[in-house]
Structure formats: C-alpha cells, structure tokens
Symmetry: C2
Subunit: 157 residues, 2 copies
C-alpha cells in the first residue's frame, strides 16, 4: 500500500444550517432547509446543477475526528438493544476517514449558494464535493435490500 500518497482535502464551501449541533438520535432531517455556500471563485462549477432534482453532498465531519472515539464495532444508529455491527456496515460519523454524505433535494441555486432540503450536516461543516444524483447509476436499477434496523424510521429525502 502506497503510504507516500498524499491525500489532502480542501473545503470548497461551508454549510449554513439552522441546526448548530448534532441532535439526539431520531431527529428528522428530512424537512430541514439549509444553504451550501460555495467559495465564490468556484461558483461557475455549479452551472447546470439546477437541471438535477437531487444532488449528493460530501463533507468533512469535523466534529467526529477524535481517533479515540473510532471503534471497529458500533451499535447501529446508537441503538444499544441491537447487536453491534462493523463501522463500515454503519453510518457512524466516527470512521477512519471522516467523510459524510447525503443525497438531498436541490431547491434553488443562486450564484455560489445552493438551497437544499434534507442535509444532515450541522452549521459550519466544511463541504468537500458536490455531485449530481444520477438515477440508475447512483441508485441500483434493480432495487436494493438492507436489514430492518437500517431502514426503520428512515430519514427520507
């Protein structure tokens, strides 16, 4: 494995959200409307994005980078009555690389600002990338299955 490879990220923008800290489990982000403020010098990179109904947002989970809190086994969605699963089978924010992502509805683009619905990243979160959501490529054409704990009371967008 090439340990010399340098993989450094730089923020392309920030989340501007009414949610200022991670709420307790069970919070419904589905209705939350937030802004993604992109660096003005990158605004042109958003051209054409409004032709998509949904976008994928990638961010750095800057409040979940303490390596002491990273565990290989975690309780699914924090539910201690369930058997623990591997961190890669979970959406725990404490992971080897603190990349968060969500598929959100794009309500509007104004210059360097995207207005989105359903973004579960808190205010001030550094944004890493925006990609268009392409049905059939980003969602399995044949449908997908998941264990019951993952889909119950899910936060839909």
């Amino acid at each position: 494995m090439d340990n010399e490879l340098k993989m450094e990220l730089k923020p392309i923008g920030l989340v501007n959200s009414p949610i200022r800290e991670k709420p307790a489990n069970g919070f419904n982000w589905r209705e939350i409307v937030a802004e993604i403020v992109i660096r003005p010098e990158l605004a042109e990179g958003l051209d054409g994005l409004a032709d998509f109904s949904h976008i994928m947002v990638y961010w750095w989970m800057h409040q979940a980078t303490d390596p002491a809190k990273m565990a290989l086994k975690v309780y699914p969605r924090g539910r201690k009555e369930l058997p623990p699963v591997g961190v890669f089978a979970s959406r725990s924010p404490y992971r080897p690389n603190s990349i968060g992502r969500a598929t959100v509805r794009l309500l509007e683009r104004r210059d360097n600002i995207l207005l989105v619905q359903g973004l579960d990243a808190i205010d001030g979160t550094p944004v890493l990338d925006i990609k268009p959501f392409i049905p059939g490529y980003d969602s399995p054409a044949e449908g997908a299955s998941a264990p019951e704990w993952a889909t119950r009371h899910q936060r839909q967008v």
Copy 2:
C-alpha cells in the same frame, strides 16, 4: 473559512480489478467484478455488511489529481457536441477534491476482502470508505430527475 482545519485521508484498502487503466468513454463497468482488499487490521469493521445487497464505495482518484487538468467547466461525459457544464454538475474525475464514489452490488465478503460488481475504479485505487446503501435515504423516495445527457446509456448497477 477555516483554512487551518487539517483534512488528511488515509487509505483503508485498495481496489484489485481486472481493469488497469481508465478505458475510453462509453465503457460498460456494469458487469465488471472486482475485489476491495481492506487492511487486515480493519477487517472487523466489515461485520454485518453482507446483510446489505449494495454498498457505496469511496476512493481517491489518484490518477486525476493534476491541478492543471482541473477546469470549472467540462464537457458532460466528454461529449464535445454538448454544451459544457460546471464540474459539480458533472462526474468528471478532475475536481477540487479527488473523491470518487460508486454504488455497487456486494457479491461476497471474505474476511478482509469484498467481492463487488460494477465498481468503476481501476486496479490499485486507494479506497477511503465503505458505507452501506440504505434505500430511501441514499436514493430519493419520491424519485429523481436528471438531464438527458446524464442518464443516456447509463452504467447501471
């Protein structure tokens, strides 16, 4: 914007694929079967993943990091007969942060190795994260729309 924030990635594993270089446009990755070899010390983090039919794979596009090739406007899917779009409205590998992602079918997990179908990352690609695909959260419950160029001849998984 907090420029002091350190966002450094470390590979959690590598792609082992029969595809050794990026093919010309139009290649169909849908049938390609590849392995994701996770660092043995992280193997326990994969427990429970096989309960999901599909996973999301994140990688570093290590052959697309030349900043001289990054443009804010790109031809969609390399098709020069179409008007250029912003890089964030495209899936161009040349982006401010070289994070690639795909939703792939999980065929099998063996210890620290995942056998997957539909992964469009070349052999030797450093893997950053694995997340389970959760229908309804990772795919919009109400359906999504995209421009024609994005979905034509799409590579489905």
